[in-house]
Assembly symmetry: C2
Amino acid sequence: MNDLLRVTRALADETRLRILLAMRQQELCICQLIELLQLAPSTVSKQVSILREAGLVQARKDGRWVYCRLASRRGNPLVRRAMDLVLEGAGESLRQAQDGDALNKILSMDPEVLCRKQRPQSV
Amino acid sequence: MNDLLRVTRALADETRLRILLAMRQQELCICQLIELLQLAPSTVSKQVSILREAGLVQARKDGRWVYCRLASRRGNPLVRRAMDLVLEGAGESLRQAQDGDALNKILSMDPEVLCRKQRPQSV
DNA sequence: TTATCATTTCGTCAGTTGGCGAAATATAGA
DNA sequence: TCTATATTTCGCCAACTGACGAAATGATAA
């Protein structure tokens, strides 16, 4: 039941569901998630780590960037059931439409440019 | 996403998972759940109501007793996926074994006797 | 090496949650 | 009607959570 609880708790937060839904089509690096969610880097990092602990998300490091994607559907059956639930629940809320639009913009950008945009503004 | 979130939040608590797992084979009345969980009636009532709000549990009233059971698998697909996840995650934890034993004892009892046992002890 | 920078870790804080007991509610039985 | 009682509602409190910023980490580039 502990594994189950770790998974259900990981799913029980809107930010984390938004992260999972954003990764449906492609992997995303942390800075892309930061841009999508408009949250502090430390917050995004923490939430992604909760999804990783639950086995829902896998990450690979490439230089300074960390790319995240949904865990394989062929791995842990618990994870597959969890994603089935999330995908079933993906509906037409305003928030999801907004995230979809924002994600398209982010994907059309060079990640380099995105990161530069996120650097502390020298005033 | 709101419906999904209501479901995932309902699943994200050990007490509520225990309730769902206990109802796998048969409906249970609140006082049976109180005995199983060893929690205050107000607490059990609250947790069941969260499961009902999420659509995971249905209840029927029979006199003073309220009987609860898992929602139909043929209803909301979200609910079905949620229960698939829970059942997949039902494992062999010590807690589950203990709950199984306790549940068997409870089911072998007359609910009337169970309720009498729960009444405030007149010292 | 040194500087830069994407990400993570840590400490803090406001808001939420899950537990309890007391009081309220609704129903059965006297 | 009045009493007993199974359940719910309400208010409270300790523990947990999700957000942030500052500092630490690890890797690239100068």
